[in-house]
């Protein structure tokens, strides 16, 4: 009778300890990668890691990682631990803000310039600047294939896909765009764009990557230092002469954002 009593006492003690420790249990999080042939799972069990600073020093640590450090294998270099993550584990965000992707210039009327705008926004990774390119897939055209050429800007102020010029005259025809850096209140500050578009009277052609031009995409906004939510307003403008059929014209504009290396 003595042995079962001792067994149940030990079991009760064990269950009590288990019950007490359960609320303090933390669940491990692991990553899973799947392919038709492989399933790879791994977890990171470090207790704490991060970057601590005070006025005189900066400390980065990884505590509890199974195998922190830099390792090499045949043909490979593996860096394991927080110190090897934070320098490269950075986010890059690109946004077209104002709730639309379409360019709506309405039905173009000869001699009446039409404009529409988009707002783009960029957050670059820590330590890196960014560059944003633009391009058009083909010339601005209607469903019958008639095209509106890219603007050359006002007489005496020539613009191309890589140089800006003023476009204020009502008798200057074509399709072009302007990009101006703006702040969170939509006030123009020219940040990232002032070297390319000095003000809102300056326009450029979109680089036509299609026939017949086959041009290269061009930078429309860039900064060499890291930024957070830097924005630019893109203004699209089209004006057609009297002999140009009115109607709906279209093209596809692509904005490409990449960080500095």
């Amino acid at each position: 009778m003595t042995k079962p009593n001792r067994f149940f006492t030990i079991l009760a003690g064990f269950l009590t300890l288990l019950a007490i420790s359960l609320p303090f249990t933390r669940f491990a999080h692991a990553e899973t990668f799947l392919s038709p042939h492989y399933k790879i799972e791994y977890g990171n069990f470090n207790i704490t890691s991060g970057k601590k600073t005070n006025s005189t020093m900066i400390l980065t640590d990884t505590v509890g990682q199974n195998a922190p450090g830099a390792f090499t294998n045949t043909g490979f270099s593996l860096k394991s631990g927080f110190q090897y993550i934070y320098t490269t584990f950075n986010q890059f965000t690109f946004k077209i803000e104002n709730g639309k992707l379409n360019i709506n210039l309405g039905t173009l009327v000869p001699g009446v310039g039409a404009t529409d705008t988009n707002v783009i926004s960029i957050t670059s990774p820590s330590g890196h600047g960014y560059q944003i390119y633009s391009q058009e897939s083909h010339l601005f055209r209607n469903f019958t294939g008639q095209t509106i050429p890219n603007t050359s800007c006002d007489v005496g102020s020539t613009c191309t896909e890589s140089s800006s010029g003023t476009w204020t005259s009502g008798t200057t025809y074509g399709f072009g765009f302007n990009a101006l850096g703006i702040n969170s209140s939509n006030t123009v500050n020219g940040v990232g764009t002032s070297d390319i578009f000095p003000n809102d009277t300056y326009y450029r052609q979109f680089a036509n990557v299609g026939a017949p031009d086959f041009k290269n995409p061009q930078i429309i906004m860039t900064e060499s230092f890291p930024v957070k939510n830097h924005r630019a307003r893109i203004t699209y403008k089209a004006n057609i002469p009297g002999n140009q059929p009115s109607g709906n014209y279209e093209t596809a504009i692509t904005f490409t954002a990449v960080p500095f290396y």
Binding site: S35, F76, Y261
Partner: protein, 289 residues
């Protein structure tokens, strides 16, 4: 409300691998918008364009020694996939280098291009589309830490007239990578006067790509900034030195510059002239009386 709002992580990957190695890298793409979007992954090769960190994809030939694909079972290169609003997707890039790959660097970008539907064609769309990229820097080497060599060029200070009060003195220079492997800048800009250190500013750990130059920038609170020395400064002879880590196999570069009390002398002259003028006026007045 945004119709395209995408975050790509990491923004850059840097790997050293031996020829013939299979490399896999996970990129995480997040759709922060309220809309379902379609994205098409693709890989493009690039090269540096100038010393500021700009890159170009123009006229850069495809690297024949690398073969890219995705390890995902349901996502393929050059084919669109759907990403629901406020959701995240891992894109697992596989890069297979040929065993015959020449030693040296290869630079690529993983692009995610927005498409307006399940088709890959964006050219028939009367609209804008966005594209976001993350860089993939690979050094093909038989050593984990390839030996690098570099030199400092065009190290100088501006403006030409350096005054004790007027404007900050800006330091510019470039570091040229003389090898086939990229490396990070690791060093300091030190300003001394009479062998006393006035300022020691860490350089930003920017990458210098193979056989290219990179402008140096300084680091303040982990953020790259232009290298400047702010006034006020004592007049005299100063020495600026760009010292790099010995692993970069670079000779330190330094030059002397002088700070003069131009603004003080100008102000003192003006005050003296004014005093002289007042004194003469008072003498003239007293003679008239």
């Amino acid at each position: 409300m945004a119709f395209f709002d995408v975050t790509l992580t990491p923004a850059q990957v840097e790997i050293v691998a031996k020829p013939g190695t299979l490399i896999t890298q996970v990129f995480t793409v997040t759709n922060n918008s309220d809309n379902t979007i379609y994205l098409t992954p693709s890989v493009s090769v690039w090269q540096p364009n100038g010393p500021s960190g700009l890159i170009t994809y123009i006229d850069v030939p495809k690297n024949p020694y690398f073969d890219f694909s995705l390890l995902n079972s349901d996502i393929y290169l050059n084919k669109p996939f759907v990403l629901e609003a406020h959701s995240t997707q891992q894109v697992v890039l596989k890069a297979k280098s040929n065993p015959e790959t020449p030693l040296g660097d290869a630079y690529h970008t993983l692009f995610l291009t927005q498409t307006l539907g399940e088709t890959n064609d964006v050219s028939s769309s009367p609209s804008t589309v966005a594209r976001i990229g993350s860089h993939f820097l690979v050094s093909i080497s038989n050593s984990e830490s390839p030996t690098v060599q570099s030199k400092v060029i065009a190290f100088h200070a501006s403006p030409v007239v350096k005054d004790i009060f007027l404007t900050p003195i800006r330091f510019d220079g470039q570091i040229t990578n003389l090898t086939d492997y990229f490396f990070k800048i690791n060093g300091n800009l030190t300003i001394t006067k009479n062998n006393l250190v006035i300022a020691k500013i860490p350089l930003s750990p920017d990458n210098i790509l193979a056989n290219h130059s990179r402008s140096v920038t300084c680091l303040k609170n982990d953020t790259p900034i232009p290298c400047v020395l702010n006034p006020p400064l004592w007049p005299g002879k100063y020495t600026a030195t760009l010292s790099l880590d010995p692993s970069m196999n670079t000779q330190n570069a330094s030059f002397d510059f002088f700070v003069f009390p131009f603004s003080f002398v100008l102000l003192a002259s003006l005050v003296a002239l004014l005093g002289l003028f007042v004194w003469r006026q008072s003498r003239t007045l007293s003679k008239t009386k």
